[in-house]
Symmetry: D2
Amino acid sequence: MDRKEAPVTERVVLAYSGGLDTSVAIGWIAEETGAEVIAVAVDVGQGGEDLDVIRKRALACGAVEAEVADAKDEFAEEYCLPAIKANALYMDRYPLVSALSRPTIVKHLVAAARKHGAGTVAHGCTGKGNDQVRFEAGISSLAPDLTCIAPVRDYAMTRDRAIAFCEAKGLPIATTRKSPYSIDQNVFGRAVETGFLEDIWNAPIEDVYEYTADPATPREADEVIITFDKGVPVAIDGEPVTVLQAVQRLNERAGAQGVGRIDMVEDRLVGIKSREVYEAPGAIALITAHQELEAVTVERELARYKRQVEQRWGELVYDGLWFSPLKRALDGFIAEANEQVSGEIRMTLHGGRAVVTGRKSQASLYDFNLATYDTGDTFDQSLSKGFIEIFGMSSKIAAKRDLRQ
Amino acid sequence: MDRKEAPVTERVVLAYSGGLDTSVAIGWIAEETGAEVIAVAVDVGQGGEDLDVIRKRALACGAVEAEVADAKDEFAEEYCLPAIKANALYMDRYPLVSALSRPTIVKHLVAAARKHGAGTVAHGCTGKGNDQVRFEAGISSLAPDLTCIAPVRDYAMTRDRAIAFCEAKGLPIATTRKSPYSIDQNVFGRAVETGFLEDIWNAPIEDVYEYTADPATPREADEVIITFDKGVPVAIDGEPVTVLQAVQRLNERAGAQGVGRIDMVEDRLVGIKSREVYEAPGAIALITAHQELEAVTVERELARYKRQVEQRWGELVYDGLWFSPLKRALDGFIAEANEQVSGEIRMTLHGGRAVVTGRKSQASLYDFNLATYDTGDTFDQSLSKGFIEIFGMSSKIAAKRDLRQ
Amino acid sequence: MDRKEAPVTERVVLAYSGGLDTSVAIGWIAEETGAEVIAVAVDVGQGGEDLDVIRKRALACGAVEAEVADAKDEFAEEYCLPAIKANALYMDRYPLVSALSRPTIVKHLVAAARKHGAGTVAHGCTGKGNDQVRFEAGISSLAPDLTCIAPVRDYAMTRDRAIAFCEAKGLPIATTRKSPYSIDQNVFGRAVETGFLEDIWNAPIEDVYEYTADPATPREADEVIITFDKGVPVAIDGEPVTVLQAVQRLNERAGAQGVGRIDMVEDRLVGIKSREVYEAPGAIALITAHQELEAVTVERELARYKRQVEQRWGELVYDGLWFSPLKRALDGFIAEANEQVSGEIRMTLHGGRAVVTGRKSQASLYDFNLATYDTGDTFDQSLSKGFIEIFGMSSKIAAKRDLRQ
Amino acid sequence: MDRKEAPVTERVVLAYSGGLDTSVAIGWIAEETGAEVIAVAVDVGQGGEDLDVIRKRALACGAVEAEVADAKDEFAEEYCLPAIKANALYMDRYPLVSALSRPTIVKHLVAAARKHGAGTVAHGCTGKGNDQVRFEAGISSLAPDLTCIAPVRDYAMTRDRAIAFCEAKGLPIATTRKSPYSIDQNVFGRAVETGFLEDIWNAPIEDVYEYTADPATPREADEVIITFDKGVPVAIDGEPVTVLQAVQRLNERAGAQGVGRIDMVEDRLVGIKSREVYEAPGAIALITAHQELEAVTVERELARYKRQVEQRWGELVYDGLWFSPLKRALDGFIAEANEQVSGEIRMTLHGGRAVVTGRKSQASLYDFNLATYDTGDTFDQSLSKGFIEIFGMSSKIAAKRDLRQ
């Protein structure tokens, strides 16, 4: 906020992936706006090329500056972890993989814009998806003074025109035929769209998956114990882990068992339904375990209400409102609700399923002596008669009325 | 309500299962109250003995009348079907198996009480479970003038005392050692409780399951196509079915693939947590298919709100308030929401999973031409800029304020 | 939908008020689009000129056709009544006056478009209010094939340019200086915006009000009895009324006592906050009475849930989604909830307040014998001990856990 | 919890008011249980006798110890203030007057029980109201090991029997005929029940009110400015106040104008409806002001969600679950939502109404330049077209489907 002197030339910070579209965008934006372009690449675990290779390519494509950041731990701690605490599954299925990475990237874009005195942020999204909203609503919440542009959407930078631009300028990017798959991936999961899946009667084929093995292949089951402390996964099979490590290790182990494949028709924020295929083995394993530990440690009325909060939290994050006031207030609720979510969950990973088989917690609300039907039962059954009578009283009075009407 | 002349002797209608507890209860209630006991057995698909055998046993145990009813179709049409339309899963897991059968039975008990001029209804539940509430709150809503008694809870009729009573009276019931399992089952599923599962760290063993085969056993996958009409399953693989048949056939086919096992710690209405193991292959297959067909045919805002309605509906039914005013009003919402839920879902049943692989619907809201990124795209991307700006406006204004504070 | 042959010239249906802006819009649209303009004026009780005068002015201003409709009863029965049943108060204050009239008008516009083979509908709203959304979202839901235009917003038809157009064309409209007040009114209420109220520290002055007398003026109180049948106001002081008459008579009587003034800062759908002053004496009196009759006749859990439904219903209608699928499903809930809302409410109208002083209902759930502390009490207090113990059980178990942590 | 040595004689802590019932209860409990009784009187602003007089009476009636506490500030800061932040109005009307005082008293009772090694807590409530639940659920959450008794409910200590006991023992209490009014009052308001109000057609008479003057009496209006800081009322007309002072001063000023009378039929937790008359001038004035300041400073989506949270918060507190886990988590949400609720509200108190006439805040989200229709408008209306189109997209697609069905 303390930009002493405005730069002579306007500057644009571009969310850079290293691929064809955003490489071409560097020059395209420069031509369209006359501005200098600063490329920013953020590693949220998408894999692929080395960050330094990406940085050099940005400069070779004409960026005046190029910044790369390893944000994997930040992404896991500050974005994936809240989603685990919220058991966040959009439409009860999708663990918000891309929706979580966008605010992470936004934070880096805004920081770069401040550092370099840029007044505009650019991203590579089209005009019909959710990600454009996540980028732009995020940026306007962190830096309401910045302007956003999206060359693909705003300057009609189609793929064909991008290839032509690339060849005309001799940019150092392979312009081979595009893969049939449109993929977004990070450490929390992977999303795949492709032509034949746009017919919602077609089933996905094995070829679309990378994070998960075929669940139908016979193999030995894997048993894992996950330890949580106040909702945070802190150990796997007794070995301490960071959140990033927890996700990575479960990506491997649950992925090897085919856990975490999702094939769904989804309600986009822009009002259309789309067919999406996801893989998120670690996310699904962690949320499944966390849900069950909550079942053991969270009081009933809090648990019932939290389900509604979780749904709204997931919708907000899906809809790109990570940095919104309501999201912050829901976080206040969720933090309080996770205060006692500590303990161990044993889980069998096998055949595409992550099945909880045991729970253990110092903070357990399960009381063997109250629950048992055997000797040692401490539940005073004589109380039930009065409870039922008064619990059902308002319905009973209404029934009397209804019957006499 | 037009009981012309009150019976000389008081009459009690007893929910009769044919087992030891309720057989003994016939005589026990008679001794405790001096009333005549009318036994009523309702078949909701629990299997086991022939209804006529059960009827005769009731009479042999001292019932003045014994009525049996095949309520399987009624149970499926009037109780399971609304649960399918509501995608009802208590705590996101349990398809309300026992909770659905209780109101079915209650309706028959009340009808019998009216027919025989009984003033009291008796059931075999203990004082620490949910079913006592479901029976008594149900009865007080259909017939607020009737009184309820529960010999096990109210007259301390323990199992040992029941066996002693049985032997003393020479009742024609086997008093062999009780099975280690406490089971409640019907066509919609099966619930198992047993001693070693009261330690929530213990995993279930194969022995507890009857409706489902071991999902880990390698076998061929089964592919099924389920057709819905306004939320009602009307055909399986193109062959017309009643709701009962749909549940039964999917119990078999999904059960053979190990689908529908649930192992959870559950919040009882009486305030304690309990460990429950369920199997509900048909219910889980049908709800999974129904949810996905809704994803294709229900508008986003309706779908988002319906999730909250579903949760409350499930809690109400779990809590025994099937016949309550709120349940009726939620049914009004759910009926309207299912108006367009018609079409076909293709599903692979395998390895414990019911996975949707295809959807087809005349009422689909999925529009290939809006969703595709290929030629033929009809989505006007230029609209998005204005949408995002105004959609994020309130957050952006708040952000400006927060930053200047 | 069965337009046999398309008209040679394109046709536009215009929502016509008779005022300067929409009179000018007739010619303006014709010039901008080359289309023939059909003017449609809908009377929802806004008062002012005779419909026939308005019709003739439209023709004089160049409309090829002009239709006028008295929709006051339709507006009251089909739009205001559902709002009464929903106790609809946006932000707990505003009875949705303008938001209810827009869908009424939309229905007439679409019918005219069908009748005259028009492909476009035009309205006079600006681009920063809610009404543009209510018109356009309404039209796209009733007739998704129609296009919408808004000359003020889309063709930059400012007031100054409109006056110039008017004078240049010699249109028969007075182009006197605009009133300082921007007003929208109908039988359900009146909204006023004006410059000095845009400073939210300024209080409204008496001059802005027309439907209500100054509440501070000393006068005799007025007592009224309103009779409802299933949520519908059917009689005032025992005399049968239509819904329209109920609103009109209470507008007079409650308005004479200063009831129904609202001064608030409101969240617009377009993301900004605006200062609004409303008067809605009949609406506030009817909703107040209806709420209290619900308090007497609606069971507690239904009443608690209905509050949430009411809020969402009000937000949807405010946001222009009257014809949306979610609105329809909520209506299903609300209809069911009003089934027993029959009886009489006695109310004192005085000094700006509508105060309920008596309730009487055959469907009352208030039971003197249960409520009284006097002789005749039929409430069995011994039941409470068990109720409290089990009602508080889950919190108590959590407390034990929290204390030992 | 570190009671070194258990007292030789059992001890009971009694919530003592100084009136007939609890004075008699001292001896009654001693006789029924053989325990020593410790009387605890907590001043939450109920007025009446001096605390020292009450203390001495308890000892004279046989208490082995008597403790009195001035908890007025604690009550205002820790119980009334959260209710103001939550805009808590049960059934949209009742500011939870008695429901807030009970947890305050519970805290003192538990502290006294710990201090004196008592194992039981006693209170004077009947078995058909809400307060028994508030006491007992509160105590079981703070001290799950304590037992609760209620002599009136559990030992059938009727008023007649209490008078007889009093006279037989010569206790120093006036046993005059009971007032026709049953009253509970504290600094946040006053509740009145009485025989003739049990007929819900009867209007209250002036005689039942004490905190408020007749609103119908002509008098000069009073204008007040209330300053809030993060939701806390911190000044009245510019003069700094504690929360207690804010409530007290507004009780006087708003009470003098007849503000805050409430006459309603209410849903009790025990399942019955009751008729209640309340006065809460300060509470209603403060909540009205706080609501409007939120309208100015809280972002729309947060404000919409907060309404639901407020409703649930109010129900929980009404239902006696102040110390429950869900209440704590909702407090986390509410605290976050109040972070920016700072500024001034100007209000006219007159004729029974507290009407906001002005708002001023450094944290205001109202932006004159966005809201105005005059020169200076900064709202870009061209964005609206795209917004409306995409905002209404899902409804429009559904409409197309519905029309073709």
